[in-house]
């Protein structure tokens, strides 16, 4: 198996010397891409969708986000930070936006803009798109959902809306603006503050034949701490920053659940949370869902308010966003300007499925292997204990027929073999050590 310590798009990495092989991550992975071996977790890179569910449950922070080095911003003379609305909602209402903007300037950015500035125009484009395309149209907003569909629901890829998400349109707007002002490409850097890991992968290896104009991605959790520390320490503000704060209530609410579907004409549903998403996509794939025009589907519970790199409680974050939305107008001054160039840049190509080869590319071999796996699964206890290092009995059976695990890895079968005298206690311990690491067994001696 192509087990590595970083993901397909290298958005996540397991730091081996911090990983304690606790196996929490293997249980939450929606594509069963993780295994424990030698006392450490490894990722089946081809199956990973960069959703970050593993990152969420890791108790030792061994799973590291592969964000860009912050100091890279200083490679550019003009340094724009595109800030998602959820970032401001990380702070309590007593921390003013103005002070946050000033700190962002003090930390090194020359201009700041809301990611969701492009949302008003995008919504019009979506409504046009939905009129003519195959229903239901699935929003392209959540990168983890796009990758989940590519890997687990390949027959649904054609339903994914071929329109860019707000971050890319806003970034394109900035690129255009710098070009218009005659600023050379090497002089400006567009940076994105991300509340999620999927977006890092999405910017680094975008889908749909597209190249992102974004120069770097900054981890929102890391940056929140940096900003809040500066706020607490009351650092003096010596740099000035251009604040492009044009934003409508639609934009602020867009990253919350229902913030997209509520603007779409026709029957539109909003689905959030990985388990709900998988259940719904299963039904959609079975053609059990009829007469729906648009689906807003987001991997995180409470959408981006519950983003992997969001520090604050998701419900408080969503509440902050809703509160702020009541205080600002329903449109903003730059909408017309966005409209002028948006339709030229908003489209992307078809998204290709990413096949998850379970057994073999040859169907004849695959059928044989699957038959073996089914027989093996019958031998296993069916309690999905994970003591073998795989997330379920079914996953172990698959690993065994692929030649990537041994049947003795099952603690139940091993006990039977020991009872029958077919393996010695010493051998049994060796197997345990191979899976969970030798140190685990040394400490009690």
């Amino acid at each position: 198996m192509n087990i590595r310590h970083s993901t397909y798009h290298r958005a996540l990495e397991i730091t081996e010397n911090i990983c304690i092989g606790c196996s929490h991550c293997i249980k939450v992975c929606p594509t069963e891409a993780l295994r424990v071996a030698g006392g450490k977790a490894g990722i089946h890179a081809d199956w990973c969708i960069d959703c970050g569910e593993c990152y969420r449950v890791c108790p030792t922070r061994a799973i590291r986000v592969m964000d860009d080095d912050f100091n890279r911003i200083f490679d550019y003379r003009h340094r724009v930070l595109l800030v998602p609305s959820v970032f401001f909602a990380q702070f309590s209402e007593s921390v003013s936006r103005e002070s946050i903007f000033n700190i962002i300037g003090e930390l090194g950015f020359t201009e700041v803009c809301a990611v969701e500035q492009s949302v008003d125009t995008l919504i019009d484009e979506i409504n046009e798109y939905v009129k003519t395309e195959e229903k239901p149209v699935i929003s392209s907003f959540c990168p983890a959902v796009i990758r989940l569909i590519q890997v687990r629901f390949p027959s649904l890829v054609d339903h994914i809306m071929k329109l860019l998400p707000p971050i890319e349109i806003t970034a394109q707007y900035y690129k255009k603006r710098f070009e218009r002002d005659g600023i050379s490409e090497k002089d400006y850097g567009i940076f994105y503050l991300t509340p999620c890991i999927g977006k890092i992968a999405a910017v680094k290896s975008p889908v749909g034949g597209y190249t992102s104009p974004i120069h770097g991605v900054i981890n929102m959790d890391y940056f929140y701490n940096k900003v809040y520390l500066a706020y607490k320490q009351r650092i003096p503000i010596t740099n000035s920053i251009i604040i492009n704060s044009e934003l409508s209530s639609k934009g602020v609410l867009f990253p919350t659940t229902g913030g997209e579907s509520s603007h779409i004409k026709g029957k539109a549903l909003a689905i959030d949370g990985m388990k709900n998403v998988i259940d719904f996509l299963e039904m959609l794939e079975n053609e059990e869902i009829k007469n729906v025009d648009f689906l807003e589907i987001r991997a995180c519970d409470e959408s981006c308010a519950g983003g992997i790199l969001s520090h604050r409680n998701r419900f408080l974050t969503a509440d902050s966003l809703r509160n702020f939305a009541t205080k600002i107008p329903g449109t903003h001054k730059l909408v017309e300007e966005y409209k002028k160039f948006c339709s030229a840049v908003v489209h992307m190509d078809k998204i290709e499925p990413r096949s998850m080869v379970k057994y073999d590319r040859d169907i004849e071999v695959a059928i044989k292997k699957m038959e073996n796996a089914r027989e093996l699964k019958e031998l296993f206890p069916g309690i999905d204990c994970g003591a073998c290092g795989a997330p379920s009995c079914e996953a172990l059976a698959e690993d065994v027929v692929r030649g990537q695990a041994d049947i003795n890895a099952c603690i139940f079968l091993r006990t039977i073999f020991e009872k029958r005298g077919e393996i010695t206690i010493k051998e049994a311990i060796k197997i345990m050590e191979d899976i969970w690491g030798k140190e685990r067994f040394d400490k009690n001696e």
């Binding site: 794939e285 079975n286 073999d360």
Partner: protein, 137 residues
């Protein structure tokens, strides 16, 4: 490779289980998504037919490298007029069933359209057997 699923008449909560399982299997085997879609549509429709019209039934699936053969054997009232049942839009479903979003007709024609081979045997007051063949290539 053989699979077998029992289906209970009137239990709409579980309708779709067999098609979901077969879908999962075909995906793991790496079958073409377009083929999987045809299998799922045909099987789901046929599975719901047993739930809606028969007392009980068994679905037998046989997967070979060339394709899948599905045999749906039910104990039920049988189909009095197969030709009529094969007509688009014709439905005998009760209002209750229609309220749940099922029974809009099109069942059998839709199955046959998605299949590479399709046959139907039926005996009044005994039951119906559908045989659906779909090739992988």
């Amino acid at each position: 490779m053989h699979f077998e699923y029992k289906v209970e008449g009137g239990d709409f909560t579980l309708a779709g289980y067999a098609s979901s399982q077969i879908k999962k299997t075909l995906k793991q085997l790496g079958a073409d998504p377009a083929v999987i879609k045809r299998v799922v549509v045909a099987l789901y429709e046929a599975e719901v037919n047993i739930v809606a019209h028969a007392y009980r039934g068994v679905i037998y699936a046989d997967i070979q490298p060339g394709g899948i053969t599905l045999r749906l054997v039910d104990e039920g009232p049988g189909i009095p007029d197969v030709e009529m049942a094969m007509t688009k839009g014709f439905s005998t479903a009760s209002p209750q069933v229609r309220e749940m979003g099922f029974g809009a007709g099109m069942g059998l024609p839709n199955i046959s359209e998605n299949a590479d081979s399709f046959s139907i045997e039926t005996e009044i007051n005994k039951g119906t057997t559908l045989t659906i063949g779909i090739n992988f290539k």
